[in-house]
């Protein structure tokens, strides 16, 4: 071998060594850095917006769904005739041209012009092929039943950073579950930015929001809202509400309140109507609390249905206050059945005194009074019961007939439902199951909160309440042939240290059929003007709704 051949061979080996060492440097030592650099050149990141979960009624109909909408954005740096584009967009988007003009004058590459634009408007603008104007797909809440069950649903607004956020009702309570998780897609793109089919495309899983299936029956909710609205108008009330619950499971069947709002255009309403008064507003229940106090006294065996009231012959004076019956009629030695039938305040003072403060507080607590019911809606309130040391003899007496004690309608409905459910108080639930994005369904099981009274006491109390409906003040409006247990409540409204003599909160609470209740319902009218009495206002609404419910459930008359 000649020296020239050897020399050439060594030079080639040396060159190969240099190449190998350089490759080693790039591919091993600088691997991560160069991979990231290359990846940034051939890949693009695309934001994926999760779809908010739907809210469906018990018949699987979405009362809150999503509709495709668009965000119109502009790239001011490439806009040619800004004035013309501003005027065109202003025309199509029906917005002030000065605000669009201000946006397109910004020295940025991306400015949002308007969001929530419908498909037709997007197509109309798209046909104009305006350079520098683009669209981004979004989802906007859509309510097929308009304002139906608005107080149950709540609404979707924006948080501080402009991201969708649920407020009030289910949207607020289950916001994290409904909203899902925003995610990104990393795509391998060609030189023109088009995606390339490649195994290298990294696509992370987008997590849409979970959907909620409610126990709310859409037909009943519709019916209740229509009848409540009509009732408020008929009886000249300032507002009203109705709550219907399945006493066996605690599932809410319907819940309505007026005045209400439309979740789609919540901005157009006064903020006061956003909160659900059935779970947020407190009131003195008046006589509709009597069944709970009487049940407590029966359960504690301090009275029996035949116990005679020895203080019922006239007004009762306690702690300097004279307590009267609602109609100033008095019945000496009346029994407990008639105390409830006549809604006798002095009779309930007798019962409260027999029960005593300790047992009164204990039973009311077991009935859930003074505590949150933990209903799955945002905005529940519950004023606490007064501490034992602050109960004076007059407080005990007035609590017996539901005055001087504040609670929310849901507390009353929940406590009363224990009488209908063999003494067991269930947790009120609006959502019956959650449907996860992967299709998995999680059922929400009913939960017993407490057992304030025995089954035997509940049975006795049911008979007393059936008697109250059949022979009480509201008997004129009762349903013939059905055994319905219920009680009127005409509560005075406290104003500046005394009770307003002309204004009341009229309520009716009851359940049907009495022997196997399918629903327990509370109707409340605030300041009815045609009559201040519940027997002439809220009771007719109760029976009007109950009639349709019994027909809807296919329950024939039993008598």
């Amino acid at each position: 071998m000649s020296w020239r051949y050897r020399f050439t061979f060594l030079v080639l080996i040396f060159a190969l060594g240099i190449i190998i060492s350089r490759l080693f440097y790039w591919q091993i030592i600088k691997r991560d850095e160069l991979s990231a650099l290359a990846f940034s050149q051939y890949s693009g990141v695309r934001k994926l917006l999760p779809q908010r979960g739907e809210i469906k009624t018990s018949d699987n109909f979405p009362v809150a769904s999503n509709r495709v909408s668009y965000l119109v954005f502009a790239n001011p740096s490439v806009l040619k005739d800004k004035k013309k584009i501003t005027n065109t967009l202003s025309l199509y988007l029906k917005t002030d041209s000065s605000s669009i003009s201000a946006l397109v004058s910004l020295d940025r590459f991306w400015v949002p012009i308007a969001s929530g634009i419908d498909l037709k408007t997007k197509d109309d603008i798209g046909k104009l092929s305006l350079s520098g104007i683009g669209f981004e797909q979004q989802f906007k809440r859509f309510y097929p039943e308009a304002s139906l069950s608005a107080h149950i649903l709540g609404f979707v607004g924006k948080d501080e950073s402009g991201v969708d956020k649920g407020y009030f009702g289910l949207e607020g309570y289950y916001d994290r579950l409904l909203r899902g998780k925003e995610d990104y897609v990393v795509e391998i793109q060609d030189a023109l930015g088009r995606p390339i089919l490649s195994k290298m495309t990294k696509r992370s899983k987008r997590v849409n929001g979970s959907s909620l299936k409610l126990s709310v029956d859409r037909s009943i909710q519709f019916l209740v809202e229509a009848k409540l609205k009509r009732g408020i108008e008929k009886y000249g009330a300032s507002s009203g509400m109705v709550g219907i619950m399945n006493p066996r499971t605690g599932h809410i069947i319907a819940m309505a309140a007026f005045p209400s709002f439309s979740p789609d255009s919540y901005q157009d309403y006064n903020e006061d109507v956003y909160k659900n008064p059935f779970i947020s507003n407190t009131f003195e229940p008046g006589s509709s609390l009597k069944p709970l106090v009487m049940s407590a006294a029966l359960d504690a065996s301090v009275v029996t249905p035949q116990t005679r009231c020895n203080i019922c012959g006239g007004p009762v004076t306690i702690g300097g206050y004279e307590l009267h019956t609602w109609n100033d009629k008095y019945f000496k030695d009346t029994n407990m059945i008639d105390v409830i039938r006549r809604s006798d305040n002095t009779g309930m003072v007798f019962v409260a005194q027999k029960l005593g403060t300790d047992r009164m507080i204990s039973y009311l607590t077991k009935f859930g009074i003074g505590q949150l019911t933990d209903i799955d809606l945002q905005g529940e309130a519950a004023p606490s019961l007064k501490p034992k040391g602050e109960w004076y003899s007059v407080d005990l007496a007035t609590a017996g007939f539901g005055q001087g004690i504040s609670l929310t309608p849901i507390e009353l409905l929940n406590g009363f439902s224990a009488i209908a459910n063999k003494g067991k108080r269930m947790q009120p639930l609006v959502v019956s199951s959650v449907e996860m994005p992967d299709g998995k369904i999680i059922k929400i099981e009913p939960k017993i909160l407490s057992k304030p009274i025995s089954e035997k006491t509940a049975k006795v109390m049911i008979e007393i309440l059936v008697n109250a409906v059949n022979k009480g003040e509201a008997q004129w409006t009762k349903l013939k042939g059905y055994r319905i247990a219920g009680k009127t409540g005409t509560a005075s409204i406290p104003v500046a240290g005394h009770y307003d003599p002309d204004k009341t909160i009229a309520s009716f609470i009851g359940f049907a059929p009495a022997d196997d209740p399918k629903f327990v319902m509370l109707v409340i009218l605030d300041k009815p003007t045609t009559s201040i009495y519940a027997s002439e206002t809220s009771a007719p609404i109760f029976f009007d709704i109950a009639k349709d419910l019994l027909s809807y459930y296919g329950i024939p008359p039993s008598e």
């Binding site: 979405p62 495709v68 097929p144 139906l148 088009r194 390339i196 037909s219 519709f222 024939p556």
Partner: protein, 102 residues
């Protein structure tokens, strides 16, 4: 020696040509797959939007608000006193299984 060099030159030339063809084919496929993918994604987006619009229309038409107003327009009225069949009204005869009104 000269013949050996010629063989190597031909071999290198063939390898270069072959690699060039492979590169052209792969590049061509990759560049057109982007167009195809873009088209498919566009179609998916179109059908999803179409489905969403149809679902929206369906929900609006089947909403109780719409049904109630349509029913009222068509002159449907509520039955004030529905007919109720109580259990005692019907008797099932054991053999024929025919319901007989008493």
């Amino acid at each position: 020696m000269k013949r050996h060099k010629t063989t190597i030159t031909y071999a290198l030339f063939l390898i270069i040509v072959l690699l060039s063809i492979i590169q052209a084919v792969v590049s061509n496929r990759l560049s057109t797959s982007g167009i195809v993918l873009g088209k498919i994604e566009g179609e998916i987006r179109f059908y999803k939007t179409e489905n969403s619009s149809l679902a929206e229309e369906y929900f609006l038409v089947s909403s109780l608000n719409n049904i109630a107003s349509r029913a009222a327009d068509l002159g449907f009225a509520r039955e004030k006193s529905p007919l109720v069949l109580t259990n005692s009204d019907l008797v099932l005869t054991p053999l024929s299984g025919v319901a007989v009104r008493q």
